[in-house]
């Protein structure tokens, strides 16, 4: 139930006793072996270690707020981008899309547009770019990595054009800032919203027919096609979702950060995809991955970084640990049935 791979080459779907008798211990075992289980264990380990090394401060409300505020936008962007991964297409342009969206939204609001209309236009533009990605990748069969790298470049250029000679647009809005920075009980509101989004996405991915179709298209493209699913339509939709998610992220950044710069979103794709892979997705094959795994992946990385900040260790080590986690995740993915590269 927790293993979302359609391939079935790994543990859970095989080996179920024919009699239907399914002892709790075995189900628990399957839970723990899956991608989500592994990352959940890792997150638990980080929390335990954080409490040991940084004390009470680690789980204090203010500290959770720090980490939560930092990962809120990446969670939203990553959840939407995860749909694209599930359908078998990696969209590398999400970071630049965030930058473009932030710059576009900031430009519009500074030119006098109201917040909602500016947001609508910005998201429409992002949707358009998502369609461009889809046209190249789905209709023209372009290699997704190369095509979205091209879009990454083009959008970064547009972001620079929009931010102009000074390289930044200030767009501080009191209301928007309050919204993105206020709390909802013990958690930051934005963090809470991002978690809700991730939960909804998890439900879609694991429980709905749409989710099954997306995973099928990503996991076994030919089989899905024979079963009558429209691979093209699903991938179009997934790429459009990915673009819109990045667009939403860019707009939210304006609220959180009060402005856009020509480097907004730079490197975000790396942060997001590293976390998604640590959380069980694969950028090399579709059909595997679960939004809740992605959230936990992001929390693990942010948690480690926060721990390093709190304990005064040289921040250089953050990169090392993320790299190690990434390699571990890729290894585990292979053990779980991913293609061995020869």
């Amino acid at each position: 139930m927790t293993q979302t791979s359609v391939r079935g080459a790994s543990t859970p779907t095989h080996g179920r006793p024919a009699s239907g008798h399914d002892p709790l211990r075995e189900r628990l075992g399957r839970l723990l072996t899956g991608a989500v289980g592994t990352i959940a264990m890792t997150l638990a380990a980080v929390i335990v270690l954080g409490t040991i090394l940084a004390g009470q401060e680690f789980l204090s409300t203010s500290n959770i707020a720090i980490v939560g505020s930092f990962v809120a936008v990446p969670i939203i962007v990553g959840t939407f981008a995860g749909f694209s991964l599930l359908s078998g297409v990696v969209d590398l342009s999400i970071g630049s899309m965030v930058g473009f969206s932030a710059a576009a939204y900031a430009s519009l609001t500074q030119a006098g547009w109201g917040g909602w209309s500016a947001a609508a236009v910005t998201l429409l533009l992002c949707l358009g770019f998502g369609v461009l990605n889809a046209v190249a990748i789905v209709t023209f069969n372009a290699d997704p990595i190369a095509a979205t790298l091209g879009m990454l470049t083009a959008l970064r250029g547009l972001c620079r054009v929009l931010t102009g000679g000074s390289g930044a647009i200030t767009a501080f809005n009191d209301q928007f800032y309050e919204f993105t920075n206020k709390s909802f009980g013990p958690l930051p509101l934005l963090f809470f919203i991002s978690l809700v989004v991730a939960v909804l996405a998890t439900v879609v991915v694991t429980k709905t027919r749409l989710g099954r179709h997306i995973r099928a298209v990503g996991g076994e493209e030919r089989a899905a096609q024979r079963a009558g699913m429209s691979v093209a339509r699903i991938r179009y939709g997934a790429l459009m979702l990915s673009a819109v998610g990045a667009g939403i992220g860019g707009i939210l950044y304006i609220g959180q950060l009060g402005g856009a710069s020509n480097t907004t979103g730079m490197g975000l794709e790396f942060q997001v995809y590293a976390a998604l892979m640590i959380g069980g997705y694969s950028i090399l094959r579709g059909g595997v991955g679960n939004p809740s795994g992605g959230v936990m992946g992001l929390l693990v990385v942010a948690g480690v970084s926060n721990l390093i900040d709190l304990t005064g260790v040289n921040t250089y080590f953050t990169n090392l640990i993320v790299g190690a986690l990434l390699l571990a995740a890729v290894f585990l993915d292979r053990l779980r049935g991913g293609d061995a590269y020869e």
Binding site: Q256, L257, G312
Partner: protein
């Protein structure tokens, strides 16, 4: 193929073990915080410093090193975080400083578009903040007046153009660094202003900009293209955001066979010393960025510790601490010591001795 039970359980356990081992090792190796020990009756402060985080620029790390040494000198606590050149990280660092209840924050934020938000948070927490080089309302401004630094360099270059070519210049190239935002406008724009003050009759269409990103490898091809587009220009000046941008253009001219037609003046002093100075780099402007903490501690933080916080002066025109730029010609530059030597001297310099006193040839004679 069943792999439940011991297999995956062992894997998970090993992952936990690795993380645990790594963390314990890190904790043992860690050490950005120094412990306290009061000295002369004034308060023991906890200083939070956010360094820029750009890995290939040694002065950002040097700023942290000098600050750490000065805090240690005073027996204060010191927390250093890196802004990583990233706006969300800079905001997160501010949140962390607030949580850690620091007494003052020093910021070098390469993404100043997010400064207003950070200022709001720090003001709400009533934490005095000092900013290096990039002005923000409400923050003590410590820095080079980038405009003045630009103008000083531009003027020096103008003087050379006047004596050599009588200001009859065919082309003025500007190596921009747009990612630096307002610093680029002030510094590179300032160089043009300084040049114009000496050679006002150069027509505006002779001023051509190209993007250098502050790097030779980006400046060189861009300058090549710009030079190729102006093949008739025989007397060419180059200004830019830093030495690398300017040297990129100088080397581009060499590649196009036009080495003797070009003269440049740089900024930041990074390529004006040593054995490989480009012969057409007439000079540069030192800022001694690593010395900022010296001014910060002596003129602001010591006073805050003694309960007499100075008034907050937050603009480049009227700053809390204005640091004079040190323009040097190529010949004079040989007298200036390298960065690590300067850091070492600053860490043990007596109070009141500034970097300009110690290192600037014009000042120290």
């Amino acid at each position: 193929m069943r792999r439940v039970g011991r297999g995956p359980g062992r894997r998970v356990l090993s992952l936990v073990a690795v993380t645990a081992a790594a963390s314990v090792t890190l904790a043992a190796c860690g050490g950005g915080s120094t412990s306290s020990g009061s000295s002369d009756g004034s308060k023991t402060l906890t200083i939070g410093m956010a360094v820029g985080g750009q890995p290939d620029v040694d002065w950002q790390k040097a700023q942290g090193d000098v600050a750490r040494a000065l805090a240690k000198q005073r027996g204060w606590n010191y927390i250093e975080l890196s802004n990583n050149g990233d706006a969300p990280t800079a905001t997160k660092n501010v949140d962390t400083f607030i949580q850690k209840k620091v007494d003052a924050v020093i910021e070098f934020n390469g993404q100043p578009s997010v400064n207003p938000v950070m200022a709001k948070k720090l003001a709400a927490a009533k934490i005095p903040t000092i900013t290096y080089d990039i002005a923000q309302q409400g923050w003590y401004f410590v820095g080079i007046d980038n405009k003045a630094a630009g103008e000083a360099g531009g003027k020096a270059l103008g003087e050379i153009a006047k004596s050599k070519w009588n200001c009859d210049v065919d082309l003025v190239l500007s190596a921009e660094g747009k990612a630096a935002g307002p610093v680029n406008e002030a510094r590179t724009g300032g160089m043009r202003t300084g040049l114009k003050s000496v050679c006002p009759d150069i027509p505006s269409d002779k001023y051509v900009s190209f993007e250098s990103n502050g790097q030779v490898s980006v400046a060189q091809p861009a300058a090549r293209d710009a030079l190729a587009a102006h093949p008739q220009a025989k007397k060419i000046l180059v200004v830019g955001i830093n030495d690398s941008g300017v040297v990129g253009a100088l080397q581009a001219a060499e590649q196009l066979g036009r080495a003797d037609q070009i003269i440049g003046w740089g900024q930041d002093g990074s390529l004006i010393t040593g054995a490989n100075v480009n012969p057409h780099l007439a000079g540069s402007v030192f800022y001694f960025l690593e010395s900022y903490p010296t001014y910060t501690f002596e003129q602001i933080l010591d006073k805050i510790a003694a309960g007499q916080a100075p008034p907050v002066k937050d603009t480049g025109e009227d700053p809390a601490v204005k640091i004079q730029p040190c323009p040097v010609s190529a010949a004079e530059a040989a007298k200036v010591p390298g960065t690590s030597e300067r850091v070492a001297q600053l860490a043990k310099a007596p109070k009141g001795k500034t970097a300009l006193d110690l290192f600037c040839p014009a000042q120290s004679g």
